[in-house]
Symmetry: C2
Subunit: 149 residues, 2 copies
DNA sequence: CCATAAGATTAGAATAATTCTAGACTGCTT
DNA sequence: AAGCAGTCTAGAATTATTCTAATCTTATGG
């Protein structure tokens, strides 16, 4: 290991997925692969499905040495959501969650810890759902199962 | 109509339900029927089922001549919720809603207007629901149908 | 190439939603 | 009717979130 590699390891985590893959994912949706977004998208998309708050993403990015402001984290989360890379979930009045799993699914919400856990769509069956009023259309159906403890 | 009655009508709305009924409702759950709470509980419980935000309740109370601070409205909403007079609903990251209907039911959420509408529980059938993990128990199942427009 | 400009992005400052807590009030108890 | 033990209120403080002026990017063409 060279001196430069050692320093890089200390300063900043190397992305799991290749940087090129992440940059392409951003370009695909029409976003510029900036330094800040690369750091965020790496945390968000290089691991399995995650449920993150602005604060948790900011902490994780910061502790890996990324230089990003909290405002930029908020901007990125909303932009990524608008572009379909994330899905926003409101279950708690104090903070909103962003889900890296954009496929149809539902959630357990653990009230004590504030953690979310995915429920596969086939584990919840909605056998009767009312029609949307007028000429309006249903954009999404969310099922949240709240659990104590 | 006497002079006193006329002034009262201008200054402050008389409760639909009798004040005694509202005061009793508060005492039943162990809360003192203060002037502020009476005004709020009157707005909340004297009409049909409603979905209110702190701000909407504050505006309505204030415009009826009630002297209450916004902080007290928040305190009251949370206290009433803890005592089972209301139910809190988180569907929008910007504001939380308080529902005067505490019976089991679900919601339409109109994304454009930010309004909520009740769905009778028998209009939604959950034929398959996963068990809570471990020794944990399900405290509530919420179904939110998001509608455009 | 390099300059330019149009648009996109960042992040400090501002705002809005919500919570905290010191003081004011209530209703017992003697 | 004075004291006391909570209970309640609301101004102040905090926190989540948004706004916007300044900074960066990237496409263009000389
Ligand atoms: Mn807050
Ligand atoms: Mn806010
Ligand atoms: Zn999820
Ligand atoms: Zn409702």
């Amino acid at each position: 290991m060279t001196m430069l590699e050692t320093m890089a390891t200390v300063d900043q985590k190397k992305s799991e997925m290749g940087d090129a893959v992440l940059a392409d994912r951003l370009r695909e949706v029409g976003l510029r692969p900036t330094r800040q977004r690369m750091a965020l998208v790496d945390i968000l998309l290089s691991q399995g499905n995650r449920h993150m708050t602005a604060e948790s993403l900011y902490s994780e990015a910061t502790s890996q040495g990324a230089k990003v402001s909290l405002a930029t984290v908020y901007n990125a989360l909303h932009t990524f959501t608008a572009k379909g890379l994330l899905r926003e979930i409101s279950i708690d009045s104090t903070q909103s969650y962003f889900d890296t799993n954009t496929k149809e699914h539902h959630h357990f919400y653990f009230e004590k810890s504030g953690k979310l856990e995915d429920i596969e769509p086939n584990h919840v069956k909605l056998s009767r759902v009312p029609n949307a009023p007028d000429g309006m259309s249903i954009s999404r159906v969310d099922v949240v199962i709240r659990v104590d403890g």
